[in-house]
């Protein structure tokens, strides 16, 4: 998972594989961060305190 | 890295087993167990969960009395090279616990790295890999007989024959002590080779034309190591596993038993 593992030797397979993996992880991470921050902002703005 | 390889004469340690000489006596199995701290349990008659790095198969020619014939095939790990070290088991290991060592041509197995997914066992057509289904338990006092050169395996990991790689290491240590880097043929021999009372097993470097294994098997190293000795064969040659264990037999049916054939003639029935 981490390129400093002893047995690691970069090759094409690693690039594709790790590229795909980190791409996905980044999107998920950024997406969730975005959602949480926006939710906090929204809450601070007073949205969602509803009485329905 | 590639350039560095030029400086090192890469070895391809391999084995030639003369099935005409092999008596099926079991010495190699026990020599291996004793050398490699292989555990044992009360009932070992279920051969599917009995750890024997080197297992002797008993083959019959399937003919009726008195045409019957039997032959023993000792089966260590074949140390497959596949194509450029792409052994069936190596590429599948998710945690790099097993690897093809290009310096010696030996497939390593690191027990402490292995987490027991058994994918390599599924990949090995020779059933040369064994899983530690149980904790290894030695009866009181018998752990005194354990060798410090091979670490005992814990429950839940896969193990297999290593061509007694520790002997290679120790031989190299000894050579270093004498200021040498290269090993002589007899300095590194596996435990089974050494113990075989019939002298059926020969071990050495298949790349070295002076070594007995090369002379016996005459491997065509340019073409996946295919044997040029007409009496020599390898198990499941057609799969492209490129094993480093060669067998010799003058008996046609034994050689045929080494691989699967499309045409039914001469093919063994599954028994």
């Amino acid at each position: 998972m981490l390129p400093f593992s002893f047995e690691w030797a970069w090759d094409m397979g690693h690039m594709v594989f790790m590229g795909g993996l980190w791409y996905a992880l980044t999107i998920l991470g950024l997406g969730m961060t975005y959602c949480i921050i926006m939710a906090a902002v929204d809450t601070a703005k007073g949205k969602g305190s509803h009485n329905h | 890295m590639k350039e560095e390889h030029k400086h090192v004469k890469t070895k391809k340690y391999g084995m030639v087993i003369d099935l005409d000489k092999c008596t099926g006596c079991g010495s190699c199995m026990v020599a291996c167990m004793s050398e490699n701290n292989v555990p044992f349990k009360k009932d070992e008659t279920n051969k599917l969960d009995s750890i024997t790095w080197l297992r002797i198969y008993k083959l019959t020619n399937g003919k009726k009395f008195p045409e019957t014939d039997i032959c023993y095939i000792p089966r260590p790990c074949m140390q497959c090279e596949g194509e450029h070290g792409h052994a069936p088991c190596v590429s599948v290991c998710p945690a790099t616990a097993t690897d093809y060592n290009h310096e010696t041509g030996i497939v390593s197995q690191i027990y402490t790295r292995c987490f027991g997914c058994r994918y390599c066992m599924a990949a090995c057509p020779y059933h040369a890999r064994y899983f530690n289904w149980w904790d290894p338990v030695w009866p009181d006092g018998m752990e005194k007989s354990l060798s410090p050169n091979v670490s005992p395996r814990m429950r839940g990991v896969v193990e297999k024959c290593s061509f007694c790689f520790h002997r290679y290491q120790l031989a190299k240590n000894k050579a270093y002590a004498q200021g040498r880097r290269e090993l002589k043929e007899d300095e590194y021999q596996t435990a089974c080779t050494q113990a075989c009372p019939a002298g059926a097993i020969t071990f050495g470097d298949l790349n070295n034309h002076n070594h007995a294994v090369y002379k016996l098997a005459k491997p065509d190293n340019k073409h996946g190591g295919r044997p040029r000795n007409p009496n020599a064969f390898r198990l499941l040659e057609k799969l492209g596993t490129n094993p480093k264990v060669y067998y010799l037999s003058t008996r046609e049916w034994v050689r045929r038993a080494g691989d699967n054939y499309i045409k039914d003639e001469g093919k063994l029935e599954h028994h």
Partner: protein
């Protein structure tokens, strides 16, 4: 059943409470004491700080048990008394294996009788020499059973100094406390004194990554071995050309077996 029921009631009660009481006074509350946020942040900080203290301070203390060596050993004294440095006691056997910690028989060569007045010396002679018992030394650099390490490959062939991995142990006058990981049984010297696993010196840690680091460094040197010296910082003396030209530091990822058994 009842608990779930209660909880449900509680939740709903709270919700109702919240809905009824909080909303109308929301603005006021915020103005007055900054709402619950102050407490929330405070408790967050308390939790955060406490766990940091536990993780960085208490945890390492709990994780390692401390053991004293059976005999306090003075390396300086011994190094001064012998002729060949470390190798006088830590030598290679004929088969190329490394002797490691000396056996009693070696010590007895000099220590048959009590020498000097050190109580440790007296204890050593009385409890071990006289009784013929081996001293149960605790080995700081003891690697686990799965590790194969060839000293001769590094010392004789690689011309490495003991210090590189073991530090200046020859300059110690007392045996330091041996710390053992309660979970793994490892010596702490393997992971390193620093709980974060950081190191300053080559000998601070002895994990696989440390071996790898050094091996990787060697990989970077010019490939034509004959034209070395290696530009390696820890190499204390000029590189000696080995008898054979085939110096090859194990760097390949396929070489697991080289260090594992």
């Amino acid at each position: 059943m009842s608990t779930l029921d209660d909880k449900a009631k509680e939740v709903s009660a709270e919700a109702v409470d919240e809905a009824e009481t909080e909303s109308p006074t929301e603005v006021n509350e915020k103005k007055q004491d900054n709402g619950p946020w102050g407490y929330i942040i405070l408790f967050f900080i308390i939790g955060f700080a406490a766990s940091l203290v536990i993780g960085w301070g208490i945890f390492p203390k709990v994780l390692y048990s401390q053991k004293k060596q059976p005999i306090d050993f003075n390396h300086v004294l011994h190094v001064a008394a012998v002729e060949e440095g470390c190798e006088s006691c830590h030598f290679f056997r004929e088969d190329g294996s490394f002797s490691g910690v000396p056996k009693l028989a070696q010590c007895v060569e000099c220590h048959e009788e009590v020498q000097g007045e050190d109580p440790n010396e007296a204890k050593f002679v009385e409890e071990y020499v006289a009784k013929g018992r081996e001293v149960p030394w605790l080995v700081y650099s003891k690697q686990p059973d799965c590790v194969f390490f060839s000293h001769i490959a590094h010392v004789n062939m690689g011309k490495m100094e003991c210090d590189t991995c073991h530090g200046h142990i020859g300059e110690s006058t007392h045996s330091k406390v041996y710390e053992e990981n309660r979970i793994t049984g490892y010596s702490r010297d393997i992971w390193g004194k620093n709980i974060a696993g950081l190191k300053k010196n080559t000998w601070d840690r002895m994990k696989m990554d440390d071996c790898a680091e050094c091996h990787a460094e060697n990989k970077a040197v010019p490939k034509t071995v004959e034209t070395l010296p290696w530009p390696i910082s820890w190499m204390p003396r000029p590189y000696e050309k080995p008898a054979s030209s085939q110096v090859r530091v194990q760097i390949d990822k396929d070489a697991c077996f080289v260090c594992h058994k």
